[in-house]
Amino acid sequence: MSDKRKQYWKGVEQLTNDPAFVKNAESEFPEFLPISDNPEGGSSRRDFLKMMGFGIAAASLAACEAPIKKAIPYVNKPIDVDPGIPNYYASTYVQGGDYSSIVVRTREGRPIKIDGNALSPLTKGCSNAQVEAAVLSLYDNERLRNPKKSGQDISWVDLDREVTSKLNKIASAGREIRIVSNTVLSPSTQKVLEVFQDRYPTTKHVVYDTASVEGMRLANERSFGQKILPTYDFSKADVIVGFGADFLGTWIAPIQYANQYTQTRKITDTKKGMSRHYQFEGNLSLTGANADYRTPVKPSDEAKAVVALYQALDGKKSDIPHVNKAASDLKKAAGKSLVVSGSNDPNLQVVVNAINNKLGNYGNTIDLTTPVNYRQGNEKEYNEFLTEVKSGKIGAVIFFNCNPVYNTQSGADLAKALETVSLTVSTSDRPDETTKFVEYVAPDNHFLESWGDANPAQGHYSLSQPTITNIFDTRQAQASFMAWAGVIQFDYFEYLKSEWESTLAGIGLIWDQALHDGVFAIPENLEAPIFNADVNAAISSINTAYKGSDLELSIYQKVGIGDGTQSNNPWLQEMPDPITKATWDNYVTVSQAWANQKGITFIEGKSNMVNLTVNGIALKAPVVIQPGQAPGSIGLSVGYGRTSAGKVADGRGVNAYPLISKINGMESYAVISGVSVEVLEETYQVAQTQTQQTYMGRETVIQETILSEYQKNPGAGRYHPHISTWQEESGDTHPGALTLWKGHKYKNHHWGLAIDLNTCIGCSACHVACQAENNIPVVGREEVINRRDMHWLRIDRYYSSAPDDELDDDQKDMMDSRKLELVAANPEVTFQPMMCQHCNNAPCETVCPVAATTHSSEGLNQMTYNRCVGTRYCANNCPYKVRRFNWFKYHDNSKFENVNIAMNSDLGKMVLNPDVTVRSRGVMEKCSMCVQRIQDGKLKAKKANRPLKDGDIEVACASSCPTEGMVFGDMNDPNSKISKLLKINDTEEADYIVTKEIGEPRAYHVLEEIGVKPNVTYLTKIRNKDKA
């Protein structure tokens, strides 16, 4: 039988006895196994062991992993999306009239970070806190998810049908239609609105600004016959005089001004001079804090000061401090100086123009030939619109991404009047005070979801492109307008592109290039006009208008919250105000003198509430005693007191917009009459991240000098602690240099950060950038009061202590250390960004029992979250107090869902940076010097098979700094920017000593005498004053 057995072939090869087949016929796997390293193929025992080892390892690893929720793989991978690889898109941030050209970083199709666009000739890669934070508002749960009709959901089709029919009815009835908006920088949008106007001829586009500067444009009309805003160039100015213009913080185009301004402040070996800055203002603003000579004057005197300066230029002495000095300095720097005023009074601005004209600044520091379009509000038209609405003449109002019910002085009246209007539409992308009173809401896309363009200044064009597909059922507002104008199937992108190509292609536009760069600039200048205005008339009207009263109010915008549009953004809410270091609230800032006279104290942020009454409108607000507040003046910021912005903003602070007054018929943030304040028994605690105001004269913390001293000796103002030892009695030993240890040499890289205190203006852009980059939780007002803010990077703001002549008798008897705690009435201000100093002899590392914080071989002090058991010993032993402890679970915790929105909802979590762990409860965290970026840069270089270049790696704070005040780099690389800046020469030949010799005389380490050897270096602050 056996020989009769059937033969089953393994295949035709067996039949034909193919030699290749016969060779492997017996082995289990005839094909070659890929996981084999034995040349004959087949699998050896070692392969088996390897596979088994891998299997076990994989299994056990899988066991350790927590299950990943909702990870959906790509079915078809999009061409340009590689998991783990960020994509960058140039775009444009436009908020009202605020403009910044940006680069958006996306991961797996999610925008997670906004940086400045270095290709922009205007913003030059700079940004500010508001721009940096804008990405979070994209993932705000409060955003409208679909169109609404009187609160109920409605489909776009129905909405379009109803709105269009109503518009037709109204138009055919010949009744008025109004489109209300803030400044619209987008030329294409203007075109779209024109199309709409053609369709409905009774339409009029009314533009208003939350902080109107129309007064300047009117003044320029009166002075030069052109109602424009000029381009200012602070970088060319040697003497800068500001009158209540917070041009570094909030005035018109702070990003650009800050960058220009600090170019004049930066001091290098080649440029040993710096501009001199005078500031006359009521509140202590960010700009005033950076001034060399700051004169606190109440608003009415501010106006008088302008006039006084004008007259002082003609030699008429003034008794207002520093005016004469400013005048003489200005004369010296004629043509290389700049005088600006934040006032909205045309008369005042005419005088300012006159001063600048007299100094010949036009054509030098002020450029009328390339006007900017940042503020185009027209108060007259808006007021007309208001009266028309009230009188019922208006048939339809469309609010185009604006919120006048909240952010205009007369919002309440408008809200009432809207009831009479038959068609009210808003295109706001989120509910706000205005959408409450409109019938239809046609939500616009967020700007990160939209196509768009901007024409910020003459000859400057800017594009924005979507970085994510619409998250909700929203529609580009432009498309809505077109739809209502009867253009169906409208593609705004095509429209935009064709518009650009039709207008700009002729003059050298390459669309793809422009889209890639995000900006497109062509020289197109107007001709320079001649100054001719009746200055004396202006002066006389000033003298009559500014009577002044014993208590005046300056309303202002905060650097973080601005006009309140983004107030539902917790990053900005918790960003400490650069000056008051207060979060989550607005408050009445008062002078110490006023507080003394009212018997108010201000301890640990606690003080009395006050009733602030302005021309009949009463508000109840807490008080902050603000050094540098002009006597007889108080301050209050707008942007708070939202009622329907969302759970983050609602009910925080009070709304100051209704308090805006009028001077010479123009809106004025300065209220010079009818202000009264009544102190209440009730107390309130403002949540401050810093409560000690002065630096206690500790030279080891803040080292500063004045320009003349610096020019004599570059090392002026440096503090050199020195002691004598038993070997060396001369007393020249540097205590920080004494050590028991040899230290460790960093063979490859040695990362360092240099911060120039002279260019740091305290704007807090780095602060928000750090928060966005490193997934830093927001903890909310109560926890800030408990002093548990989580910020990795904080900006310490120090006031100078009160000089003896300011002390009263019992203060004079105080102990010296107590005296130092008292703040000067008009203090000098120093900003000091403070983050982990990455000490080479880190005290935190020594004390951790479980070695959860150790030093990297590249000089970084690194924190191992999953090894940390949370003893907090490291934080206690950190002399810089930069370590932050997770007191609670901040993510997925209902207690924090109202403040920490980025970690408590699926939508919010889309903003998290996937390269950075979200820390769990009970572990310590701190600045990692953006180690994820460092690793990324190193990997890129490795993949490209080239050594790392300086500039390959940029840490979040440094890259966001509008003043280039922070320099990050490899201190082992002699050609790196930081090595050059600090003049580092690595003297030690031995392979273990870490100490770098820093040649730059201005460079110092904070607390260098305790010998922790930080890798973060500061450069002394220099003030351009005659005497310290």
């Binding site: 000690q692 029992p849 070695a851």
Partner: protein, 469 residues
């Protein structure tokens, strides 16, 4: 069957063998015989729990319960329920830790050092003092655990290989030294204490009426039969343990003080901490022993064993250590001024005049001024006064640690980070928890263990229980 003895012979022997001290106060009064000792000490072990004991037990259990709730909240919510903040990372937690450890010093110190010095007066107090040590150290050990953000990872402080590869502990960290110091101290004290207990357990075993106590004390007494050879070894073990425990006692608080001394924070970074902490520990330890002793001798009628003499001697130790601590305070200030270091000088000025001045001055009054009253013999031999002062001293010592920890942290180098610390109910609650724990443990001890070392006391009955009349 007993053989009647010849009276005369025995009498003569006895008279010749009378020891009578004419100068020294007897350490045991009331003409006790060896048998009386057994009777007196075993009484409360064998008898029913007294009403006062029951009440005390109920109170401690109540306290324990309340405390346990706070501990639960702490573990459930996170360290945030405490009042700590980014500047003051330690406050009540480590204050309590150091305070309890300090109290835990007296026991072993009394037994060990006084044994080395052959101080017989230790004999009737060392047992309870050692018990106190053990329980105090347990309470102390609670805090390094509870103050961790992730207590469930606490075992990482032990040098164990782990899932993250062989990542070991950091032997540079004083906190790690604490782990070793505290655990060693606890173990050795426990052994020392238990060795002392064995013969007494045997006595109770042999008097036990019911099965359970026979079984339990039988097991506890390790089959002790009082053989002379064992006694010989036993004594040399006790002696060597004492020799080991003495440097250990000193090392523990030295190492605890390293937590602060090796740091860079002004007010912590002080080289005199080790001796100063040890003195403080003995100071508070003896105070606590007095507090407990005075209660115990009243409740269990042990006035004949724990005499005024004992109390006076301990009060003298308190004056001495208290004065040492006082000198340490002054030295700190002098050095701060003399160092010329700005931050250092401010730190100490701030202690006296800053927002926490009240804590500082409480410390000063309780620790430096009040013990000086013991210079008066009337006060140091007065039970009531001693009792009050012993409590005052412990309050003072708690504030000493609070002052060192909180006032140094809350205003250190960078004024921008200066902050205040305000305790929450959970700070208090967790402290209360340890009181409950201590009370419960100590009451159990007094009920079921012989509170006085019978064997040792018996050995001195003959020599020092009577005085020449």
């Amino acid at each position: 069957m007993a053989i009647p003895l010849d009276e005369v012979v025995v009498k003569e022997e006895k008279q010749n063998l009378e020891y009578v001290s004419v100068i020294r106060e007897p350490l045991v009064t009331g003409g006790k015989t060896v048998h009386d000792v057994t009777e007196d000490i075993c009484r409360q072990v064998e008898g029913k729990p007294t009403l006062s004991w029951m009440l005390a037990m109920a109170m401690s259990l109540g306290t324990l319960g309340i405390g346990a709730y706070c501990v639960f909240m702490l573990l459930w919510e996170g360290i945030g329920v405490w009042g700590l903040n980014k500047t003051v990372g330690w406050a009540w937690d480590i204050t309590n830790f150091v305070w309890w450890v300090g109290i835990g010093h007296a026991g072993t110190l009394i037994s060990a050092i006084l044994l080395l010095f052959r101080q017989k007066w230790r004999m009737s107090i060392n047992r309870a003092a050692e018990a106190m040590t053990i329980f105090a150290v347990i309470c102390a050990a609670m805090f390094p655990g509870l103050h961790m953000g992730r207590i469930w990872m606490a075992f990482w402080v032990l040098p164990l290989p782990n899932t993250f590869g062989s990542l070991w502990v950091n032997f540079n960290s004083p906190l790690l030294w604490d782990v070793f110091a505290i655990s060693t101290y606890f173990t050795v004290s426990l052994v020392f204490w238990y060795i002392g207990l064995i013969p007494d357990f045997a006595s109770i075993r042999d008097r036990a009426k019911n099965k359970i106590s026979q079984a339990v004390y039988g097991a506890l007494s390790f089959g002790w039969d009082g053989a002379a050879k064992t006694w010989m070894r036993y004594e040399s073990v006790a002696l060597i343990l004492a020799g080991l425990a003495t440097p250990l006692v000193l090392s523990v608080h030295t190492i605890v003080s390293f937590d602060f001394a090796t740091s860079v924070i002004p007010g912590w970074h002080t080289t005199i901490f080790p001796p100063y902490f040890v003195a403080g520990a003995i100071f508070s330890g003896f105070a606590m022993v007095l507090t407990l002793m005075i209660i115990t001798r009243k409740t269990f009628k042990l006035e004949d064993y724990i005499t005024i003499g004992h109390i006076e001697l301990m009060n003298i130790v308190i004056i001495i250590t208290g004065s040492i601590v006082g000198i340490a305070y002054i030295t700190e200030f002098f050095i701060a001024w003399y160092s010329g270091v700005e931050a250092e000088q401010y730190a100490f000025l701030n202690r006296m005049t800053g927002p926490y001045w009240w804590a500082y001055w409480t410390m000063m009054t309780c620790n430096v001024i009040s013990p000086q009253l013991f210079w008066f013999r009337k006060i140091r031999t007065n039970i009531a006064a001693t009792f009050i002062l012993s409590i005052v001293v412990n309050i003072g010592m708690w504030f000493e640690r609070f002052v060192i920890i909180v006032t140094s942290l809350h205003r250190d180098y960078l004024p921008s980070s200066w902050a205040m610390f305000y305790p929450t109910i959970y700070d208090v609650g967790v402290y209360v928890f340890t009181f409950g724990l201590f009370g419960t443990a100590f009451l159990l001890f007094t009920k079921f263990f012989p509170v006085i070392n019978m064997a040792e006391v018996k050995s001195i009955i003959k020599t020092s229980s009577r005085k020449a009349s």
